[in-house]
Symmetry: C2
Amino acid sequence: MIIDHVSLETFTQQVFEKMGCPTPHAILAANVLLKADLRGIDSHGVARLSGYVRLWEKKRINSNPNIKIVHESFTTTTLDADRALGLVSAPQGMDIAIEKAKIYGCGFTAIKNSNHFGIAAYHAMKALPHDMIGIAMTNASPLVAPTHSTKRMLGTNPMCYVFPALEYPPVVVDMATSAAANGKLEIAQRTGKPIPAGWVQTKEGAETLDANGLKSGGSLLPLGSSVANGSHKGYGLAGVVDIFSGVLSGANFSEWVPPFVAFLEPLANLPGEGIGHFVGAIKIDAFRPASEFKANMDQWIQSFKVADRINPDQPVIIPGAPEFEEEIIRRKEGIPLHESVVLDLKQVAEKFGLHFN
Amino acid sequence: MIIDHVSLETFTQQVFEKMGCPTPHAILAANVLLKADLRGIDSHGVARLSGYVRLWEKKRINSNPNIKIVHESFTTTTLDADRALGLVSAPQGMDIAIEKAKIYGCGFTAIKNSNHFGIAAYHAMKALPHDMIGIAMTNASPLVAPTHSTKRMLGTNPMCYVFPALEYPPVVVDMATSAAANGKLEIAQRTGKPIPAGWVQTKEGAETLDANGLKSGGSLLPLGSSVANGSHKGYGLAGVVDIFSGVLSGANFSEWVPPFVAFLEPLANLPGEGIGHFVGAIKIDAFRPASEFKANMDQWIQSFKVADRINPDQPVIIPGAPEFEEEIIRRKEGIPLHESVVLDLKQVAEKFGLHFN
């Protein structure tokens, strides 16, 4: 099924309104999800809508939160998101960071007591129209084992950095710090195909090519995959994200990050509140004229585009460029939805007395 | 040969003085190099001293630089290092960042026209006594090919993040964004053993287990190693470091970063000046009380220390802990130097009329 993005966004907004979100929140949350679908990050768009609904039903998401500043300095803010959708708290945190960066050169917001925030790139990219570098990261359900361990201690904890260019689209690095994002694994599960070595280990810590290895009690491997190829670096990066997002904000961290799936209860004796995010903006003009920076970014991008190829038919990819191109196509041609997602959205519609499709 | 660290530091300082460094610069540069040797990062300590000397002989390093602020805001500084040793410019940049963070919550310094800065952790760890998070990164000689390319476009571009804890040593994540650091490859070259798949590709872009594959015109692979295991993420991270260090500061970037080895000339038509660094400090109290943060860091560390092991004899490693333990041992027992390094240092001593050993 292919659906135009405006209809899908309107439907998504209606669902959030039915959950009790104030209209501005519902508009914002729908916009974040649709941005993922437009960019081709299908695992983080409306495919997750029913997951948010289930967390709301469990009262783990507060649809009408009182998001408040609990600590701040000239350049920093700590938000208590009051169990908000991360889709709402993260853009608000980023807006504050941008305002501080306008005055002081940079601004950062740590957010606790929040929930899944969608794609990191949405929040970081808010910096771009202001000629700022944008940063966004979040911790997430523990699925990744640190090197030498069988225990799920870290989320796929994405880090995102975005940089404006002049003629070219911005460089957008938005990556899970695990070898494979969970979304890729879900696709392999649907198709039943074996997965590459280095994505998942069994619950004993052995290599597996089974896409269901995670469901069977195994764990995702950090970026680097093996000891020889530097999995301790992926583990270290996931740790950096966890500390900025969880420890610095006062949210949960490590094994205590509450799971996204509503059928799993959070652990007892949580050290913090909800999940955590960290977002920030750095004004380029605070270091050098943005026009010079952006001209150099074009030169940076161009040098990679023309770099010698291994295979003449496979160009070197600029981070963020495929998603930029996909968005142009999907805005025009619509968003393809997998039949399982269509079914899921129909059930959500039925629950709220809405019409889908 | 084993040498006590004080003698080695004094010798190193004397070499820098013979190069014409003012005594405070020589003391600082020697301290940075010795910190690497104390922490067991042998590839980045005195083993590199002769390399700095050769760059100075080529007039690419200015031993008596006029390091000056060329741009600043409340929280940001851009330094022109005047071709200084990065061993000198980076700690100075970090000191400025810390002073700004004391007042404004965070501070960042971008440094252009610089040279190799040793271990990133030295600079980032300056934040720790101030209860700040420290950040340091640098670009470096192009040796790493982006995904799908055979061309060396990026350095091993390290990123470093350090976080203070309470009872435990700080968490120090200091990592090359390539699958293997160049130092590991050099060890394999000395021993003549094959290297793991995923470290190096041939000049045609094929897999190789030959430790000399890089010398033969190949390239290092980004963290992730293969397309299937996410090498585009290592490429993206190396790009982030290159943009913060090179593009934001006005230094060189991409393929134009001047090589560390003095026998290679920089490319023509450089887009910037020298190599670049980016360092910063974030005051924890600007987000939440540092005492609470550090107590939570202890809990974070403890949770990883006791995480279930794959092999009962192999504990989960906390980032930075092995180096912390190594420093305690080496401060007491001395620093082991490979015979090739001893020979190298003797030649340096002879050049300057100094005595080594």
